[in-house]
Each structure stands twice: as C-alpha cells, then as structure tokens.
Symmetry: C2
Subunit: 228 residues, 2 copies
DNA sequence: TTTCATTATATGGTATGCCAGAAACCAGCG
DNA sequence: CGCTGGTTTCTGGCATACCATATAATGAAA
C-alpha cells in the first residue's frame, strides 16, 4: 500500500542557546591542546559571550554543566579554568574503562547476535598482515571503534554513556601517547582473541581478555606518559 | 619551643548560592518519594526561587547541573521535571555498579593494608547470629557501608564518585525493594566470603564474588521490583 | 452542548545591570 | 630600592526585567 502522505520529519528543533553553547564549548575545549605547557587554560565569560554572540546567562549555565562534568573549574571571582587531569586521574579513568568494557564484553556474549559479533571482524581483520607502520592513524581509529563496538554490543546504554564521558578527557592526552608499532601489533592479537571469545560465547574469558587488554594500556600510560 | 602565635583556622568558606542551591535541591529530590504514583514531579522555578530565597539565576545554574547529572529534565517552556528512571535504567545502573565494585575489590586486594581489610569485619560480623528480622534497618545501613568500604579500599576516587552518583538514583527506589529476610541472610554469607577473599589477597576471587553478589541484586530487582 | 478559534496566563529562555571580592597597579614611606 | 597600604580594575555572582512559546481559559459559532 503506497501512501502518498506528506513526509513529515521532526521539525528542526533549534536547541536552546544554553545547550548549543554547551556543545560548542565542549567541542572547543576538546580541540584544544590543553596539555601543552603554554596552553591558556583560563576562560573569560565576557569574552566568550562576545565570541559566541550570546549573553552571559546561557553561557554561564553551559559552564555550570561543564563544571559538573569535570571539564572546567569555576573559581569564584578568580576565573574559569579548563581542568587538566592529573596522571593519577587518567589512570583511574582507564581503570574504570577496563571495568566497564570488560563487563560490556560479558554482556555481549549474552545478548549480542552472531551477526553483530561477526561484524567485529571488519574492525580487526583489516590490519591482519597490513603494514601497520603506514596506517597508524587508521589503526588508531579502528582501535577506538572496536572498543566502542563491544560496548555497543552489550546493549548497556549507561556503560556507553559513562565511557563516552571518560573518552572526552582521555582523548585530550591521546596526542601525548606514544603508540609504538610493537604495541599496536600486540594489541591486534589481543583484539582477535577477544573476538574469538565473544564468538564462542565465553563470557568469562571475554571479560578477562578485555580487562587485561585495557589494563595493559593503563600500565603503558603509567610507564610512558609524562603529565605532571 | 612554644610559639604563642595566633591559632588560625581556614575561614568559613561560604559557598556560592549556586552550589548551595544545588546541594539543597539534590537533597530535597533525594528525600522525595518520586516513585509514588501520585508524586509531583514538576518543579517550578519561580516557586523554588522564593522557597530558597534566591533569584532564578543561581537556581537555574544549579538546575543545569542537576540536568547534566540526569536528575532532572528541563523541557523548554514546558517545565522542569524530576527524572524517574525506568526499570531498565535501574538495572543498567546495578550492572555498572557490579562492574565497578568488582574492579574495586580487585584493586583492594592489591593496595589495601591488612588493617584496612580487617576493618570490614566490623560491618559484617555484627550480624553474625543476630536476629536479622529485628535489625533490618540497621542491616540495610551496614550493607551500604560495607559496599562503600570496599570501594574506598580500592583507593580509586573515580569509582567512588561514579558509584555515588548512581546511588543517588538507586536510593530512590530502595523503598520499593522488598528485602526479605532470606535474602539478607544469604547476603551476609556472601559478604563474609568477600572479606575472606580480600584477606587472602585473592583478587580474582574477590572480583568474581563481588560481581556475582551484585548481579544477584540485579536479578532480584529485575524479578521483584515493579516500576513502569 | 460541543467545538474551535482567540485571548490570557504561566513558565522557561535570555539579556542586562549592578555588586562584591580578588588581583593588579601605584604611590608613598622607610 | 624594596616594602606596604591604598586604589583601581577586572571578573564572576546575583537580581531583575523582558521575551517567546506552550498551555489554559474563554467565548462565540455550529
């Protein structure tokens, strides 16, 4: 039955200035190299309100949200500062990530379909024998997508949400992470094992592998990333 | 050498109205029985600003933070509503809790001192042979403190923070959870096993026990708590 | 009486102005 | 020349007024 009815799609929902300012600020901060020694971490309300073309009110509401999220710190009458996470805090984030993603892997073995799990091959096999040296950037992206995919397969929105929030912070120091090729190679091996565990519905093993894999990253960051 | 110097203590730091309003609102919402069928979920900005004796500006900034935290939803020009979590969301929270606390248990076996772990006995042994029937309330408190203690022992602030945030939500449906005595009894047995695993520094086992313990709660809530 | 269009009102959204505290600046004194 | 005390300026905190839209109230027409 062909219905010649009007194709109505959700009217352009113009969000409030507050939420748009929030998004813009978050993106702007994310794009900053805040861990550079000479990075300017201070924000100026009035200057920002001019740049964004909004008044201070919605801007301040957006800042309040970012403060709640831990991206900025508002010091009364002293200034608004982008928060630089300490190394210890970054390590804690990776630890939490490990806990959540390993749980996600376990859940995935219970709820994901075979087809969904099979889809992971696309994010792993590509780099089978490929020259990782040249495709480091691509690999890095695929790597992120692989982990995101596992979390998605768990069906747990909350894990995805929290994990995303952490990623906002961790992403900022990504540029300071030395991704040696050797580590990448070993990482791919890990990934394959993880996929296999998922395919065989071995929840216990999938959980362990993911946890150990992420804790390796923790160990690596602990050892090679200098922050404070 | 006796110094007759002025005993100075950090000056009473009066927080901003925004943060005090935030705390007050959060506490007020926490105290509400928001899952009662006839609960009023709508908040009125102007009314609140009168009740708190502040203008709408700091109040709205506090609300923006609560929205970020997921406690309220602000519908433009329609109202501000306290968020009722769905059962599925509650279950996800418990799942995340399981992931985090089990990781905390693992960490605790690595970083906590013997003395610290021994301190857990105070939160478990009390209810050894005691008549749980009568002390249900106390048990419930001790139960919460036990889990909080494990998280504290992990030394991971972030786990504590996230877990606290979840608790804010889960607490609200606590009153709807039927705590049968049988469940409490089995819970105590679990706790003892967990303490033992921690004492023997068996990280693998501690993690598993905590996870399974919390997933039992998940299962229980799934089965017996009616929300939607 | 019901329905629908119009009007009124309520409610959150935003802009603006003033205030208080902190930092920067400056002048005078030792 | 350096230190101290006061003054100016800068910056975020807060209150208030007005705006736009969603919803309720109203009344006229069917």
């Amino acid at each position: 039955m062909v219905k010649a009815q009007l194709e109505v799609q959700p009217i352009e929902e113009v969000q409030s200035l507050k939420s748009r300012t929030y998004e813009a600020l978050k993106a702007a901060i994310g794009a900053m190299k805040i861990y550079d020694a000479n990075a300017e971490l201070r924000l100026d309300e009035r200057a920002l309100s001019l740049q964004f073309g909004v008044s201070r009110t919605p801007l301040r509401e957006a800042l309040a949200q970012l403060e709640q999220e831990g991206l900025v710190r508002i010091a009364p009458r002293r200034g608004i500062f982008i928060v630089r996470k300490t190394k210890a805090e970054i390590l804690e984030m990776i630890t939490v990530w490990a806990a959540l993603e390993s749980m996600a892997a376990r859940l995935a073995t219970e709820v994901a379909s075979d087809a969904e799990i099979a889809g992971l091959h696309g994010l792993v096999d590509t780099f089978d024998s490929a020259d990782i040296e040249v495709h480091m950037g691509e690999y890095s992206d695929a790597n992120i997508r692989f982990h995101a995919a596992i979390i998605a397969l768990s069906g747990c929105k909350l894990i995805a949400e929290i994990t995303n929030g952490l990623f906002t912070h961790v992403r900022a120091i990504r540029q300071r992470t030395i991704f040696e090729q050797d580590r990448a190679r070993r990482s791919i091996v890990d990934h394959k094992e993880i996929v296999e565990a998922l395919e065989t519905r071995n929840g216990e093993r999938a959980e362990r592998l993911v946890r150990e894999h992420t804790l390796k990253l923790r160990q690596h960051v602990d050892q090679f990333v200098q922050l404070d």
